[in-house]
């Protein structure tokens, strides 16, 4: 099992979510984060004084999947996340030892994501 963590633009999320849903990966979690790459600071102005802001809002997408599905997910993220401009973000793949579904207490890979048609997965 792996967990995919992606830092992406806000506007990239919705297309990614929809394609993942179609591919059978409805389960994911997002949060609001602020990121810095080697981007320049943004200078904001307030009553004549300046404030330079080095961090930009991004969406962090987290999604635990079975090993065999990792590439599908990553490809989907890369496909919709790309604008070609700096700041598109990064995707990291992290090992997961174990997984539990709270509702039932079941554990293991099968709880991760429900493929629409498991046979073809």
């Amino acid at each position: 099992m792996k967990k995919i963590e992606a830092y992406i633009r806000h506007e990239a999320f919705e297309p990614i979510r929809m394609e993942l849903l179609e591919l059978g990966f409805p389960s994911l979690t997002i949060s609001e984060v602020k990121g810095s790459g080697r981007q320049k600071g943004i200078t904001e102005r307030y009553r004549g004084a300046e404030l330079t802001n080095y961090l930009r809002p991004k969406v962090k997408l987290e999604c635990a999947v079975a090993e065999r599905d990792v590439q599908t997910i990553v490809d989907t993220i890369l496909k919709h996340g790309r604008t070609g401009a700096v700041g598109d973000g990064k995707v990291f793949v992290i090992p997961v030892d174990d997984a539990y579904r709270v509702r039932t207490g079941e554990s293991g890979e099968e709880i991760l994501q429900a493929h629409p048609d498991p046979a073809t997965a």
Binding site: G37, R38, K40, Y54
Partner: protein, 486 residues
């Protein structure tokens, strides 16, 4: 103390004059009652008009918060800057030009005196007195309301530079023309026995909404308003409490708007107007709430508020002409109309605040309602037009009202569309997509309206940390994609 001269500040005189009012007059030997009584009557009238003007002023805050509540948080500060600047430009231009065109004489088309209005200067052949100062500022507040109505529909995407340009044209020409026709003894006084528009359902509200329609057609919807299937989607405003504050302030101001349009306290007519106004507004809330609850199973807060506004707009023209019983009907119909109209218009045009419906549709309905409900007693009291269809069986007044609506709409639409077309072709009407996504606050005003919502806490200084001055160059906030690769 009347006309008396204070040599040592106010108070000494105040004590003499106010603590012993009759003594003060005794000083001037004998009070000339034949002069004093008309003077105090006049002063009471002007006091009421100025109280009205002050209430109408506050409607600017009402518009600001109604619109801010209906905007997303990234455009909240822009609503404040907009109100400040538009109101201020309108004031200066109204003083310089608008008032003269609207009220500086009784030509059919426009006035021709009273520019750069002030004392010593003549208006309409008469030397202006203090009374006219009250009238001047009261009528200005109406112009400013009408201008404010134009902008609500353009939220979240219009360029700031559009405001000052159109504000000048609107305050100098567009509104003054209509005001001259409707309030200043011009064109509309010559239709039939005169068009009935007590406080401006048509003159003020329809005029504003028509300007809004003109700009909307050229401006287009906000990004994301219509899906690829062409269906409208909800873009919820960020703050219903602020929206509610706006509506309540508008409602408050309306008591001055309608109530002081009597321009005097004679016969306590203003009290009836205030009561009628409140009945209309209340009915608007109730019917709009029921309508949206029936249609969507939820009592939408914004629609209930739009119902109040629609009720108020509709009762504005009839408020001086109809008996109590008619008010809940007029307001109630407006409440239903506004909901249906918002739902219908939302399919075609992106009007985030519903101004086309609440000020336009309800304004037309209110103006026409005079032709139905005006009572003989009140047509005579005001001295304009005749009683409505339901009293007389005659379509005469209704026809006059419809004529005024048509003329108002066509005139304002033509002038506004032309103005906005020129603006579009020259400086441009709309911000670019990146600016729209980032929000007008940061792009046009340099800072978010709610900085803590958008800027990470560590960047908001004051944690004791004192980072050095940035070594790297700064870029403009509008270019949200310009970053350097890691």
């Amino acid at each position: 103390m009347r006309r008396s001269v204070a040599t040592k500040g106010f108070f000494a005189v105040l004590l003499l004059a106010l603590l012993m009012p009759s003594a003060a007059f005794a000083q001037e030997d004998a009070l000339n009652l034949g002069e004093a009584v008309p003077t105090v009557i006049d002063e009471l009238n002007q006091t009421w008009v100025i109280v009205g003007a002050i209430l109408v002023f506050f409607m600017q805050a009402g518009f600001a918060f109604l619109e801010i509540g209906f905007s997303r948080g990234k455009n909240a500060g822009a609503g404040i800057a907009k109100i400040f600047v538009n109101f201020s430009i309108c004031m200066i231009v109204w003083w310089a030009v608008g008032f003269g065109i609207a009220f500086g004489g009784d030509g059919t088309i426009a006035g021709d005196s009273g520019f750069f209005f002030q004392f010593g200067r003549e208006v309409a052949g008469e030397a202006a007195s203090g009374a006219t100062a009250a009238f001047f500022i009261f009528q200005f507040m109406f112009a400013a309301v009408s201008l404010a109505i134009v902008w609500g529909s353009t939220l979240e995407r219009i360029r700031f530079i559009v405001y000052p340009i159109y504000a000048v044209v609107f305050s100098a020409i567009i509104y003054p023309l209509i005001a001259h026709w409707g309030f200043g003894g011009g064109l509309f006084a010559e239709i039939g026995d005169g068009v009935q528009d007590f406080a401006g359902s048509s003159v003020v509200h329809l005029t504003g909404a028509t300007g809004a329609l003109a700009v909307l057609l050229l401006l287009g919807p906000r990004r994301g308003k219509f899906g690829p299937d062409g269906k409208p989607r909800a873009i919820p405003g960020h703050n219903m409490p602020l929206f509610g504050l706006g509506v309540l302030i508008l409602w408050l101001g309306w008591f001055g708007f309608n109530g002081a349009s009597t321009l005097e306290t004679s016969g306590n007519r203003f009290a009836e107007v205030v009561a009628v106004t409140n009945l209309g507004a209340a009915a608007g809330v109730i019917t709009a709430s029921i309508t949206i609850a029936l249609l969507s199973k939820k009592l939408d807060v914004g629609m209930a508020g739009n119902g109040a506004i629609a009720g108020l707009v509709a009762i504005t023209a009839p408020s001086g002409y109809v008996e109590f019983w008619a008010a809940p009907i007029i307001g109630g119909v407006a409440g239903i109309l506004v909901v249906l109209s918002v739902l219908a218009i939302d399919k075609v045009v992106d009007d985030p605040v519903g101004a086309l419906s609440a000020h336009g549709v309800a304004g037309i309905w209110g103006t026409l309602a005079c032709g139905l409900f005006t009572s003989p007693r009140l047509a005579e009291t005001v001295g304009v037009g005749e009683a409505g269809l339901f009293y007389t069986g005659s379509f005469g007044q209704l026809g006059a009202q419809a004529g005024a609506v048509a003329i108002t709409f066509l005139t304002v639409f033509a002038l506004s569309l032309t103005t906005f077309f020129v603006i579009k072709k020259t400086v441009g009407l709309r911000v670019d997509d990146e600016t729209e996504d980032a929000g007008l606050d940061i792009s046009e005003h340099g800072m978010y309206g709610y900085p803590e919502q958008f800027i990470p806490a560590p960047e908001l200084v004051g944690y004791g940390a004192t980072p050095r001055t940035p070594a790297l160059g700064a870029v403009s906030p509008a270019s949200t994609k310009e970053e350097i690769p890691a």
